[in-house]
């Protein structure tokens, strides 16, 4: 165990824990976009910056990747931190002017679009945090999507920008996306769902008669877990 100070509060934490996790455990809010409990942190959105003082050195660090240490003094809302965070958000906002989530966040933090950062017009809402790609690979285990190209052309897509054969239509990528870039559309009746340009047929729950999951996803789960497909024909609420 190590003792440290976050925002003038004395806190005890386990060695090796990251600042962000310790702060959250103690009810201290640090804004983030690319942080989720189910995937490892990578520090790509840079919004979680804090000021960490160790000895005589004070540095701006990404709290999601910076381990706590004995005697560390962390400030999550100092003027310097807020300046960096506002700049990061302004840049993200200029890249993704269409993202509602980012606009909301900017309003909360009192950040206005900076005129010298010309907004991108090609309708991207993607901050390239790679959360969707990693979720598809690590959590779902199908790796249906990935990044393509690099630099200004870099984007997230299925291989060859075609309908993916490996995609199971689970929608985990759309769920995890912090900026609403990935679109998943479900028809009014709920019988099909479209994601990444492919339309998936949904399965009806045997008990309540509602559409609850794509057939491909149930097949995948059945293969992966060995549970017979017939046993998966009932939705979670009816099970």
């Amino acid at each position: 165990m190590v003792n440290l100070t976050i925002d003038n509060r004395k806190i005890e934490a386990e060695a090796g824990q990251f600042i962000l996790d310790v702060a959250r455990e103690n009810g201290i809010v640090i804004p983030t976009l690319c942080s989720h409990e189910s995937i490892e942190p990578t520090g790509s959105c840079r919004l979680c910056v804090v000021e960490a003082r160790q000895g005589k050195k004070t540095r701006i660090v990404t709290s999601c990747l910076y381990p706590v240490a004995k005697g560390m003094i962390v400030d999550t809302r100092s003027e310097r931190v807020m300046n960096v965070r506002r700049l990061v958000l302004q840049l993200l906002l200029a890249r993704c002017p269409g993202s509602e989530q980012l606009k909301e966040m900017a309003a909360e933090m009192g950040v206005e679009a900076e005129p010298r950062f010309v907004p991108d017009t090609d309708n991207v809402k993607c901050i390239l945090c790679r959360m969707c790609v990693r979720t598809c690979e690590k959590v779902v285990g199908v790796s249906a999507i990935g990044f393509s190209y690099r630099g200004p052309e870099k984007n997230v897509c299925t291989p060859f920008k075609e309908e993916s054969e490996t995609c199971i239509g689970c929608g985990a990528c759309a769920y995890i996306c912090p900026t609403g870039h990935i679109e998943m559309e479900t028809t009014e009746t709920g019988d099909t769902r479209t994601i990444w340009g492919r339309t998936f047929k949904m399965k009806i729950c045997k008990v309540c008669g509602r559409y609850f999951a794509p057939e491909d996803q149930l097949v995948y789960i059945s293969q992966k877990t060995g549970v017979p497909i017939e046993d998966l024909a009932v939705c979670i609420s009816c099970r």
Binding site: V142, I145, G146, S148, Y149, R150, T158, P159, S164, T166
Partner: protein, 159 residues
């Protein structure tokens, strides 16, 4: 096709960390990286196709489109640029009838511009299938294209 891919992967004992050298060898074999070949590489190495596609699109050395028999790279580095590489580029596009980065329909010529080839003393530089041609000018570039069999390349500036 499948056999050739298997053979190349075998040379690297099927180790997925050799994905880039494997793709380089595959590209040398097929002149470019066709989709079904990439799918075969993905299957034999058990690397997801999305990951293979990521690597292929990341590196400019890999091409998803067929490349021409003659691959022409025109240097657009600072030194070449100030010595008129821009004019040569325009001449190349006029004669070949394609834009930079494209390949002619008959698959004879691929033409691209590059950053700097590190041969600034020779500038402007035109590279034809790895062979460097220095002190390039419009007349010389026309002559090279004509020699390589490009129809319509008339070197009226006889020297």
């Amino acid at each position: 096709m499948e056999e050739k891919v298997k053979e190349i992967i075998q040379q690297y004992s099927g180790d997925k960390s050799y994905l880039v050298p494997i793709l380089q060898d595959v590209q040398r074999e097929f002149n470019y990286l066709p989709k079904d070949v990439l799918c075969a590489v993905s299957a034999h190495l058990s690397v997801p196709i999305s990951r293979v596609y990521e690597v292929v699109t990341f590196y400019k050395a890999f091409s998803l489109k067929p490349k021409g028999r003659y691959q022409l790279s025109l240097c657009m580095g600072t030194a070449c640029h100030v010595r008129g590489a821009e004019l040569i580029a325009r001449n190349m596009e006029d004669i070949l009838g394609i834009k930079e980065g494209d390949t002619t329909a008959d698959l004879e010529f691929s033409y691209e511009t590059v950053g700097c080839l590190g041969a600034c003393a020779l500038g402007p530089v035109l590279v034809v299938n790895g062979e460097y041609h220095g002190h390039m000018n419009i007349a010389k570039s026309t002559k090279i294209l004509k020699k390589l069999g490009k129809k319509g390349a008339t070197d009226d500036e006889q020297d």
